[in-house]
């Protein structure tokens, strides 16, 4: 009943968890970033990688480990609450895994269609925010314009990237971004639900913190997955092509 794949999944989960603990418990898991809190975390990356390479269950387990590590290490009240520190982290690897599973087989044309739908949804959301008056009757202009401009730029960038890159790499990047966003949104959402942060503060932290983390997560996850699975065209080192 116990095949090699079963053992490999358990062992890989263990090692990914070890990396998580290493990153979460030492300073190497934090990258200095120009944000108010000063740091962007990369400790959630093993959970995303686990979700992508080993499936949602491993992603869940590694996420749990990340939550537990950040809970035991916490020096601010917010993360000493298991509902903020542990519960949201369970979903990082799971959402990343399902995004990856859903898009893995997609062709370039399908991914482009998906991007078009995404853009339409973003623009619709921006329009809705613009058209719905605030409580005092005024209309918010800045946020919908920001959403529209950033969304268009994002979709255009992904579209161009998709044109020249292996679509599997683009899918990995999207799954990594979804995983990282899950972390940011659920943690901050939970923190404001539990009353540690006011929604406005949470939104600010989400933008200043979430966006760098998404970018960093996407870069590193692509590098890791490409290295382990041999994806994409990589430049050969010139040494190995030397004529001896």
């Amino acid at each position: 009943m116990y095949d090699e794949r079963g053992i490999r999944r358990v062992v890989n989960a263990g090692l990914l968890l070890a990396i998580t603990l290493l990153l979460a418990l030492t300073r190497i898991g934090f990258i200095p970033a120009p944000t108010p809190a000063g740091n962007a975390t990369i400790a959630h990356i093993p959970a995303i990688v686990g979700g992508l390479l080993e499936g949602p269950l491993v992603g869940l387990i590694v996420g749990l480990g990340f939550g537990f590590a950040s809970f035991t290490q916490a020096t601010v009240p917010m993360f000493k609450d298991p509902l903020v520190a542990i519960l949201p982290r369970l979903f990082i690897g799971v959402t990343a895994a399902y995004t990856y599973l859903a898009l893995r087989q997609a062709t370039k044309a399908q991914l482009k269609a998906l991007l078009a739908v995404l853009l339409a949804l973003l623009l619709y959301a921006a329009w809705r925010i613009y058209a719905t008056p605030n409580e005092d009757g005024s209309q918010s202009v800045l946020i919908p314009v920001l959403i529209a401009v950033l969304g268009t730029a994002l979709v255009a960038g992904l579209y161009l990237w998709l044109g020249k890159q292996d679509p599997r790499i683009v899918v990995v990047a999207m799954a990594a971004a979804v995983g990282s966003l899950t972390n940011t949104i659920l943690v901050l959402g939970m923190a404001s639900l539990r009353g540690y942060l006011s929604p406005a503060v949470a939104l600010t932290i989400g933008i200043t913190h979430g966006i760098p983390e998404v970018i960093i997560a996407a870069i590193i996850v692509i590098a890791v997955v490409a290295a382990l699975r041999g994806l994409g065209q990589r430049k050969r080192s010139r040494v190995s092509q030397a004529p001896f």
Partner: protein, 283 residues
């Protein structure tokens, strides 16, 4: 160079052997008590309740003969951050101001301080202290081996429902075993890169991109190395005919002693008290 040396000495709550009664409790009971007490600290929201719980947890810490000052010292670097955060919460916390019995203490512009917001901040701080002591009460009195052992036992009933209890415990054991090994590996990578003039501290305006590439430069080899080690471990386990948790016996069988039941009874009493105190309004 010294800054690279710290990586291999990672510890999740150093085990502090003092041989107290709490150290000798069964790890299963300790885990259950920890979870229940944690639930208590999270659900309690009155001044008197959270203070009483903090006193209880502190006395348990003292009973375990853990150095209280040492435990609290880890707070010092984060103290300014905590204070600023609390202040922000005090000034801009609004969601609870409509609570029954909340009085407005101070109001000017967007800033409103009510008794409810003061209570939320103070209770959050007390809760934080309690959880800090509670976590060290678990991790400083239990060896990691005992912890995973206890987790495996507690998950055993769930195996019948299809949850892989044994495998989960194995994942924890492997992870804890490999943290120092991967730490050493990370050290080696950093040293190798430093000797090729890649410095670990970023500077310049492109801090974020720099940081990301630097992170990738360390993390990618770390992942590749971990996967290589995992292949070796899989091979070793297969060679030893590993076949999962079924029919496995244990070298050190866990047995409940009377003191375990007493501890569990006490914690359940505290939990019942906490739930009751929520229905009776306390100051």
């Amino acid at each position: 160079m010294a800054s690279y040396q710290a990586l291999r000495h990672v510890s999740i709550g150093q085990y502090i052997p003092t041989g107290s009664a709490i150290h000798r409790l069964d790890p299963r009971i300790k885990l259950v008590c920890f979870a229940l007490l944690m639930a208590c600290t999270v659900i309690i929201s009155s001044y008197s309740g959270s203070l009483a719980l903090l006193v209880l947890i502190t006395s348990a810490t003292l009973a375990a003969r853990l150095p209280l000052g040492y435990l609290l010292k880890s707070l010092r670097p984060a103290l300014p951050f905590i204070l600023v955060l609390s202040l922000l919460q005090l000034l801009f916390y609004t969601s609870g101001s409509g609570a029954p019995g909340a009085r407005v203490l101070f109001e000017r512009g967007v800033i409103t301080i009510t008794t409810a917001s003061v209570q939320a901040v103070v209770v959050a701080l007390i809760r934080f202290l309690g959880l800090l002591l509670l976590t060290s009460l678990l991790t400083n009195t239990t060896t990691t081996g005992d912890l995973t052992h206890g987790i495996e036992h507690l998950l055993r009933p769930l195996t019948r429902l299809g949850l892989p209890g044994h495998e989960l415990a194995l994942v924890c054991t492997i992870a804890l075993r490999f943290v120092p090994i991967l730490g050493e590996q990370a050290e080696a990578i950093l040293l190798a890169q430093a000797s090729r003039t890649i410095t670990p501290e970023p500077h310049g305006v492109r801090k974020l991109v720099d940081g990301a590439t630097r992170g990738a430069r360390l993390v990618v080899p770390l992942f590749v190395d971990a996967y290589r080690r995992s292949e070796e471990l899989v091979l070793a386990m297969q060679a030893r005919c590993y076949h999962g948790g079924r029919g496995r016996t244990q070298w050190r069988a866990l047995r409940l002693a009377p003191r375990d039941l007493v501890a569990l009874g006490l914690v359940i009493l505290i939990l019942v008290g906490t739930i009751l105190s929520r229905t009776i309004v306390l100051p």
